[in-house]
Symmetry: C2
Subunit: 148 residues, 2 copies
């Protein structure tokens, strides 16, 4: 591939990732709107359904988001009654994120989401597994490299 080919949009791994990510999130939008949440709020909830009482810092590490994104997002979710935020007594610098009953209950409505999205994409479970594995490997490589 010559240098002009290398700059073509269709030869960019990053561009197809960027486009795919936005297009899939577009599929989620109407489905999540039924629960009154956005995609970012959905990933926060998934993280908390797995492990509650994490700090903002830990949550950010898990989701690859910093306090500049999370602080306003979590304040909105607190105002919506999904979570509570409280300073840790043992170290006042940390904020601990907890689910409210409402936030915990929302999981019941969320159970049907994965299947719904899967049916919209027509992708086979095997392809999902394969693709997910490759992307996780790529993510690992980037993490290792940017720590240097």
């Amino acid at each position: 591939m010559n240098r002009d080919e290398m700059l073509k949009l269709d030869n960019q791994l990053c561009f197809v990732l960027y486009a795919c990510s936005r297009e899939i999130i577009r599929l989620y939008r109407p489905v999540l709107a039924e629960l009154g949440i956005t995609y970012t709020q959905y990933v926060v909830l998934m993280a908390l359904w797995e492990q509650e009482a994490v700090t903002l810092k830990e949550l950010g590490g898990r989701l690859y988001l910093d306090s500049g994104t999370l602080t306003p997002l979590l304040k909105k979710m607190e105002a919506a009654g999904l979570i509570t935020r409280m300073r840790c007594p043992e170290d006042e610098r940390n904020i601990r994120i907890l689910l409210t009953l409402q936030g915990r209950d929302l999981k019941h409505s969320a159970y049907r989401i994965p299947e719904k999205i899967l049916s919209m994409t027509q992708i086979t479970p095997e392809d999902v597994r394969h693709l997910k594995g490759q992307l996780n490997q790529l993510l690992q490589k980037i993490e290792v490299n940017s720590e240097k």
Copy 2:
């Protein structure tokens, strides 16, 4: 996989896509900053280096971005002297996007970018090709399905 497993973050194809996309764009940021552009501006330029004089509508279709994103972005690029925007004489509703000499010349500085990013990710050309193919297939499936 039971329904609780299905809601785990690590089992979401969408989440790894979303995270990967943002992390790779993070790698581009310092590289593109040397040219004085952002990642979105870079994909606009790549599209225009391939085919100039497209309308805003056509550009949006190519990049999966709508006018709400492109209009302010293109105005900024015009202010930076990279492109010009002009109404089509044959159909005044359309805006035609043209590169300036400076915008066209920026391609010379851009030639070294793909290799630079590749070396930062440590991914093999074979893996890139494979992953790119799978993501393009997924993108196609989403497009076909959301047109219904």
